[in-house]
Symmetry: C2
Subunit: 190 residues, 2 copies
């Protein structure tokens, strides 16, 4: 049982052992250097990526401005699932903020799993899509209603080490505020 299998057993704990094993075995190990891109705007996202160790950020570019929509750390998935599902060019950029050790699953391999062991993997695919829906629904709600302090607290929820691993100016950019305002928020929200 490798490390990936260990994490998947925890994440997909309602699934049979053999389903989790086959899922983990379909991933391939890769490494990226700090600053390298996992995905660039205009490319097709053909992989799901699970970060074993490392930090990445996902951002859009619009009219010359950078909009950060996500940071991902150890034991989290990162992908442009929209491009992955619709086979359309991505409008996201995913960049490594640290050297990264990851496991990747190709779209082709996932579809093979759906076909060969249909019900179990369709369920696994459903659960993954449901989890992604929950995450983005929550994010959308937060963008609609929350102020910068509330968005900061939600960002570091369950990821207390995030401010130590991601430069402060990027977190400020994510929140749409100045680094000085972020310092104030961090001081008052400890």
């Amino acid at each position: 049982m490798n490390k990936l299998h260990e994490h998947f057993s925890r994440i997909f704990n309602s699934f049979e052992e053999q389903t989790v094993t086959a899922f983990a075995q379909a991933f391939n190990y890769k490494e990226f250097k700090k600053g390298e891109y996992l995905l660039k705007e205009g490319e097709y996202c053909n992989h799901l990526t699970f970060i074993l160790k490392g930090a990445m950020m996902c951002y859009y570019l619009k009219d010359g401005k950078q909009y950060i929509d996500e940071f991902s750390l150890d034991h989290e998935f990162i992908t442009d699932y929209t491009s992955f599902l619709t086979h359309s060019p991505s409008n996201k950029n995913i960049q490594c903020l640290e050297d990264c050790k990851v496991y990747v699953l190709s779209n082709e391999s996932l579809n093979q799993l759906y076909q060969t062991n249909s019900a179990n993997f369709e369920r696994l695919g459903r659960v993954m899509a449901e989890q992604l829906y929950l995450q983005w629904h929550e994010k959308s709600k937060s963008l609609l209603m929350d102020n910068a302090t509330e968005r900061y607290l939600k960002l570091i929820q369950n990821r207390a080490e995030l401010p130590q691993r991601v430069p402060q100016y990027l977190i400020a950019e994510y929140l749409g505020i100045t680094p000085e305002s972020l310092s104030r928020i961090r001081k008052t929200s400890v």
Copy 2:
């Protein structure tokens, strides 16, 4: 073949006829009067709702302020899928803006479908969750980057009749602008 079946054959066109038929048969017909609530904050959302005819809006209340996050018209699904999936109390309100004719599917019936005809319905559940993910991911991106004009154009995309069916002050509220600003946007974006 009833009207619901007809719509589902179009929406789920990659599925076998018998899967679509069984799915449509699990829904029950209901009617709601204008002003009535399909769901109120604090309640559990135990149903998926497909609007055959009518208009609904979905909103949150936070610190006494109303935040509209969605309008739904004929032939669209509406639900609090987060509450539905996680069996937790909803923090949304879903209200009818017109008299509504709808079809509802209970969580219990959907789970029965997953169990009895496993692979086909798991796939259908996966496709539904993927579509919802795509929709909320796009919404989240729009909230992050788009101005009111861009958000208005996306709102009425494929739903040109929306401004005729939803009061202007509610659309302005959705966009976070005054009704006067919305008038200007509508005049310049025709």
